[in-house]
Point group: C2
Chain length 377, copies 2
């Protein structure tokens, strides 16, 4: 009997790989000889590198880079040498988790470090990229990344612009002559669940700026600066991408990818599932187990279990989702092909204890489900 | 497809009948046409009357009685007219829950009210009795009950003894001449999980007295008084029951039943299961669902789910237990034939909320299990 184990991480409790391990222990309690195919999943955000390195048999690589404020750091990404495939979470360099709240300043925050990671991967031989766009602290439209990759950004007087979104208000010209030529051979799969355009009320500054610490005035300032940037970028590339879905992802980093790269921007879980080869691994499976920390109505918004369920349904394999919490509205998931939604907690308890007990509870819940599946009448 | 639904109550959350109803809703979510046989269970303690009235199609009867301190009250018991069967929980008259902690005094607490309930049932026509022995606040050896049923208790001077355990120290003679003659035709099934003898270190006063508010001195006084009582009772009945298992149940009330009645004392769940006809109702069932508030190592001590599981195993029907909490040590239950132990909570939360959500959570957990059972590969 073959089980595909494809959970996301259980936030603050266990990584996707740890969840796979707990699931496998649970399965083996009941079916010691089962074939367990573990595929740790992610939705394009945190855990994407680990998931795809595990699925493709790649390695984790440490590279010199910098955070959004220009401070040096060592960032980690994934590399699968025989596929020339790099997997990069932009949060590793431009992430909000790297900057203390008091130090966050979107006016100057830059994606330069993301460009350095891409360069490092190109040096290593990468020509295919999977990029997870989640978790940025920047709103620079990806200008910093383009600069790191060889683009030059000038003001009206021909002077180099400083980094950060605010300076883009003075942008007059982008020169792509120095753009890394290896990028012409590179393809990018961009994982992002954000479909916002670059500008305006639904744009990068207005919708995501406040979460990253911008006040109303800064939002207006950045939105206006991004409008200048969009116009100049369109002149330089011949592509007007500001209105495209996803151009506003990661503080407008989506726009830079769309304008300057051979890229496809898709729902995070779809990028991860495809890169992990989930569909192919599902052949002959009796059951698929997925899960994450919480299942509720929001899960319908493209989170991992839903994506896994879609693939499982196509393959006609029953899919069972486990979660630390089955919230209100989760019942709607039954309309999307889930065979069962199973909470893993064993009783009343506080959150810290439940987070600590996550692996034990998941193992037990999986074993219990397997006991039920083993009942044949 | 036939389901037998035989849960105990989920303490402080739902009665056994409410649990049955929640289970049935859960089953029907997945199998709308299933045959659901609901048999609310109990272990001889609280809920026994309700469970057996439901199972046998009887009625609840209100009778004038008194509590352990002699205060008038209306007590409820169950009566199944066509079987001449009365179901009495002794706690309805001699229960600890009827007396404020500050007013509890085991020296004077009496089971007289229990005798009044039995008389009421005899008047109504009862000749078969199921008696649940749990929850007493008395330690009078059942002397009060015997007195209410017509026995006379005298001191050495031929004076009537007052009620309560302490006065038994002065007991010289029991006269059973006035004992209700209808009791000669009556049979008693006594439900008790207590197997303690009447006297000594394992006896009624020493083991259960402290829980009912007795200090060390009172325990010694009551144990000595019960020793006098045991000797006089043996003289009156020709049966020396003090050392029998269960004689110490309910403050020695077990001894009175064993000495003066045609009775059989058994594990509570066995009495209830037999009276409810669980074994016969299990014929042709696909699954048995049981449960209670908490499942843990203590469940092995004769609680409802274990009893239901034993019957289910004999009938070769898979048994699945649901609980608000699956505690440490519960895994040992798998050695006793359970197919699965399923926690019903949907996530982290506090106890009051979980108790309020009990029926909803049980319904959902049962539905989830049914979804899994519906998966056939």
């Amino acid at each position: 009997m073959k089980f595909v184990l494809a959970p996301d991480s259980f936030k603050e409790s266990m990584s996707a790989a740890e969840a796979v391990a707990a699931m496998e222990r649970g399965v083996r309690t009941v079916f010691p000889d089962a074939e367990c195919v573990g595929l740790p999943m992610a939705d394009g955000g945190e855990g994407t590198v680990d998931a795809l390195v595990a699925a493709r048999g790649g390695a984790l690589v440490d590279a010199a880079a910098q955070d959004a404020l220009g401070r040096s750091l060592v960032a980690r990404y994934g590399y699968v040498a025989d596929e020339r495939l790099a997997i990069i979470e932009i949060a590793a360099a431009a992430g909000i988790q790297l900057i203390d709240p008091a130090d966050r300043d979107q006016r100057i925050a830059s994606t330069f470090g993301v460009g350095r990671l891409i360069t490092d991967a190109l040096d290593r031989g990468a020509r295919r990229f999977v990029i997870g766009l989640g978790g940025s602290v920047t709103t620079d439209g990806g200008a910093g990344m383009l600069h790191a990759l060889g683009a030059q950004l000038f003001d009206a007087d021909g002077r180099d612009l400083p980094g950060g979104g605010a300076a883009l208000a003075r942008l007059a010209r982008i020169d792509l002559a120095g753009f890394d030529p290896r990028l012409l051979d590179a393809t990018f799969e961009i994982a992002s669940d954000v479909t916002n355009p670059l500008l305006g009320a639904e744009g990068a500054a207005a919708v995501f700026g406040p979460q990253k610490g911008a006040d109303d005035e800064t939002v207006r300032e950045l939105d206006a600066a991004l409008a200048v940037y969009a116009r100049v970028l369109a002149e330089a590339t011949g592509r007007d991408v500001a209105g495209l879905p996803g151009a506003g992802a990661a503080g407008g980093l989506g726009a830079a990818f769309l304008a300057c790269f051979d890229c496809r921007l898709r729902r995070g879980i779809d990028v991860v599932m495809q890169a992990a080869g989930l569909s192919a691994r599902m052949a002959g499976a009796a059951y698929v187990f997925t899960g994450e920390g919480s299942l509720d109505a929001q899960t319908l918004g493209g989170k991992t279990p839903l994506g896994v369920a879609e693939v499982a349904v196509s393959a006609d394999v029953p899919v069972i989702a486990f979660a630390g919490r089955i919230g209100d509205g989760a019942e709607a998931l039954y309309d999307h092909g889930f065979s069962a939604l199973v909470p893993i907690v064993a009783g009343v308890g506080d959150l810290p204890q439940a987070l600590r007990d996550g692996p034990k509870n998941l193992e037990r819940a999986v074993a219990t489900v397997c006991r039920l599946l083993a009942l044949r009448r």
